[in-house]
Symmetry: C2
């Protein structure tokens, strides 16, 4: 992997990874093209990553190609650290994405030394909590409830913007929710028809939530 050195590429954007690591940890940045793989399932986990811009998806595949996306990582999110020594899933770029990279072990060391709230246990626990909620969604919610939950999750993570610009396409949403892309599309159309959302711009990726209350009711 080509990793440019810190000195050459340091940007003005800072975040937990840089803040936490401070001067003690060498920190590089890297840019992934749309669809580029960050790491693959089974590979040794040498680095920790933080999204600067863009979006990363982490997922598992079945042998026949069926895919389950665990989570989407948006700017500020740290990922790749929750794995042990080997990655338990793959990660790639949903769109052109900038990532801050640091050596895993050095970051873990720093985290161990500290007793801050930004520690390793909390990071893994947050991932676990997300997974628990997602299991409930995957196992027990209907298509409409899943899509409503997805919209509210993204809305919250993007800090309730007026216009929500989704970096991922229908296929990605489907593989996150355990649906087909057609079912996702139909659910979105249905929510539009019910005036709970509206599409903005030319592409169908810019969504305006018109009624968060009713969306939340749908999401049991």
């Amino acid at each position: 992997m080509l990793v440019r050195t810190n000195a050459l590429t340091r940007r003005s954007i800072d975040g937990p990874l840089a803040t936490l690591a401070g001067d003690q940890v060498a920190c590089s940045e890297f840019r992934y093209r749309r669809g580029a793989e960050v790491f693959g399932e089974g590979e040794p986990a040498e680095y920790a990553y933080q999204v600067i811009s863009g979006a990363i998806r982490t997922y598992k595949l079945l042998s026949d190609g069926r895919r389950q996306i665990n989570s989407f990582h948006l700017p500020g999110d740290i990922f790749g650290l929750e794995n042990g020594r080997a990655h338990r899933f793959s990660a790639d770029a949903v769109v052109e994405t900038e990532v801050r990279i640091t050596r895993r072990h050095s970051l873990v060391d720093v985290m161990k030394r500290r007793e801050t709230e930004t520690n390793l246990v909390d990071l893994v626990t947050r991932n676990l909590q997300h997974a628990e909620n997602h299991m409930l969604l995957l196992g027990r919610k209907t298509a409409l409830e899943k899509v409503a939950a997805f919209l509210l999750e993204m809305d919250e993570r993007l800090a309730h913007p007026n216009v929500m610009v989704l970096p991922m396409g229908r296929r990605d949403i489907a593989d996150y929710l355990g649906l087909t892309l057609e079912t996702v599309s139909r659910a979105l159309s249905s929510l539009r028809d019910e005036h709970m959302l509206r599409f903005d711009g030319q592409t169908q990726r810019e969504v305006v939530l018109l009624d968060r209350i009713r969306l939340a009711e749908l999401d049991s």
Copy 2:
């Protein structure tokens, strides 16, 4: 909660919780009747638990009663520790179950002080890994694949016994796999008809796996 003191109830059965805690942590035992609640979602998480005998299920509910079981905890398993200060899900006894109980914070303190492989991060990470695999199952596997995966998981956790005695009923299996109990029953019957398993004893809870190879093939 009624917790008998260590001195009065100490048994011969030892395990990670007692071993790890040693003399520094007060350790009690408690018995739950079939169906009894150990803790509920949202309650403060004061204790950590280890199953001595029986089985515990942890689960989340939707408002209309739909249930998703996160995991089954069998003898030796520690649970309740992966939550933060408040429990993120409920736990109750699948059958009559003995549990070793200790105060959460004292156990966490002991774990922090140690640098063993039995530490908190690994415990939470194992839970996360299980959840990741389970999301793939819930989102992307068929009913037959789910049931085959369930049987193989239980087989492994019970150390490949000749006769596997399942503590949970069809409803519990269904709520773990995101299916209905009828579908689970049909899948099991189908696997029996295909000579991949056989029921033993009178109840249909004692299963003998006849062809682990073909079961594993089914489980993509």
